[in-house]
Symmetry: C2
Subunit: 314 residues, 2 copies
């Protein structure tokens, strides 16, 4: 990509922290009207009366520069007056919600109650946070991801992820069969020159997006570059349960296994220099680089490298 060629139209499929950081890097490199971030809403849930959308919020907070980079969720400079009092009253306080973060959920819930779509509410919230690129929920209706544990228990995602600290072994991830993409998502994907799959959990962040009809078909059928960034580095996830889940689901926890899992859906794969020399199927373009995004400079660097790699595959 040179400065005199027009920027490609990019859609980034994103879950939480890893997706938010790559999205932030892209937002620093691309004009806002060339970037759409399609965000997993499979782990959205209703809690304390509110509609909570953890991945949408992580992406929005990160792009707004107000995220808590230490925890990977919530806001910087947060307080917990309300939630500490919920705990004192005996209410459900297992999901960490700061006072500033609560304002997002309260505002979202108010606007949803007024009959606005999650897409419209997310746009208004992004305006409030000064976030310019389009941040789109993968769908407007609830599309809850369920975790079927090794013991056969079926847990709502956040119950497994936060309350149970993703410790129960996973037999499989159950996704709804009636999730439908919004017109905004379909338009963005149809127009995209490049689709990036962020270094998010393939099973509980990316699969829920691909499962929304007709997103997978739009990636498979439309000729354009689809590039995934590995969330696995040297057999480990930087954060979260991806590597643990791979083991439990009979997959080798490796970048190569992630590439194989995405299979013919992707044209290119970006993996970390710690896995240098990774073998991959014939025909899959590979980029080996430093995929750890240290600070905003690291996010911007990876975004530039991934975009440059993807543009070559267009």
């Amino acid at each position: 990509m040179t400065t005199d060629s027009p920027s490609p139209r990019v859609v980034c499929l994103a879950g939480g922290v890893g997706g938010a950081r790559l999205a932030d890097g892209l937002a620093r490199v691309l004009p806002p009207d060339r970037l759409t971030i399609v965000v997993n809403t499979g782990d959205d849930f209703r809690h304390l009366g509110l509609t909570i959308c953890p991945d949408l919020d992580t992406v929005t907070y990160t792009l707004a520069g107000v995220s808590n980079d230490e925890t990977g969720w919530g806001r910087a400079g947060e307080s917990r007056r309300a939630l500490d009092e919920v705990a004192r009253l005996g209410g459900p306080a297992w999901f960490g919600l700061g006072d500033l973060d609560l304002a997002t959920h309260l505002t979202r819930s108010a606007w949803l109650d007024e009959g606005e779509s999650l897409t419209a509410v997310t746009r208004r919230l992004c305006t409030g946070f000064g976030v310019a690129p389009a941040v789109l929920p993968m769908c407007d209706q609830p599309a809850p991801t369920l975790i079927v544990t090794d013991g056969g228990e079926v847990l709502p995602f956040q119950t497994w992820f936060v309350r149970e600290r993703w410790q129960p072994a996973v037999r499989r991830v159950a996704l709804p069969d009636d999730a439908r993409a919004t017109p905004a998502v379909i338009r963005a994907l149809e127009a995209a020159d490049v689709v990036l799959i962020a270094p998010s959990n393939p099973f509980v962040s990316i699969d829920p997006i691909l499962n929304v009809y007709p997103i997978r078909a739009l990636l498979e059928d439309v000729p354009r570059a689809v590039v995934a960034v590995s969330p696995i580095i040297a057999g480990q996830a930087l954060k979260g349960p991806a590597a643990k889940m791979m083991g439990e689901m009979g997959l080798e926890p490796s970048a190569a296994a992630v590439a194989a899992y995405y299979g013919h859906l992707i044209d290119g794969f970006v993996y970390d220099q710690q896995d240098a020399g990774m073998a991959a199927e014939d025909g899959l373009a590979l980029l080996c680089t430093d995929t750890i995004m240290s600070g905003t400079a690291g996010r911007e660097r990876l975004a530039r490298e991934v975009l440059g790699f993807a543009v070559e595959l267009m």
Copy 2:
């Protein structure tokens, strides 16, 4: 009432501040198992995704000693981090909700979402606040009070009361025709020796309770002392729109007019010394005293006087 006679079983019908203060006085005088406070829920509403019950909260906070006595609503030592952020995001912030107060609404909403009744949720919240007497919502289903303005507009109560600062003139108050009392309320009223009508707004605090079937009938038909305390002192309400509404609804704003409004429902009427010499219908017992409850001592004093007066009418 002497100390060696058993305490009467008392039910107090209460709205917001005035009701909460008399209830607090009663709680300081009566054993917890002799006192039930039946609270108006006509001004409950859904806001920011949450179920908010202003009168239940004012009563609970006052009995718990955590109320903000300056504002008459909300909690002492309150902060507004969440609501200030809602305002910054462009969300609806016209209803004052502090961070501690939010915890009550969040916890209530969570428990209601779990399928618990408002009665059960209120009991659990009272336990959390260390409130011993029974605080009962007048009914478990929503029973919204509507304000029909002089201009013919129909406003939900809180929209009129808080957002419009009760300025639009009132043509009439519209109450639902399908509100049904809970078994707990019916049991308490059936067992009561004394029913006290707190110095709350007759039209928007007490009428909504009396309108819940069969509360009015239980007051009229069962022989026991029913005593009201005037919310009007020298033609004014200590707080809120009672006097203004009386003028708009064609009533003289006076303690005597309140007594006449309750009519044959009440056996006794307590009014302020500033209205000394008030005329009333034959057969209505009168107690003229200082009805302004200054501090907890003032609440306790008035509770003792009202109880002593009511017991004589049993």
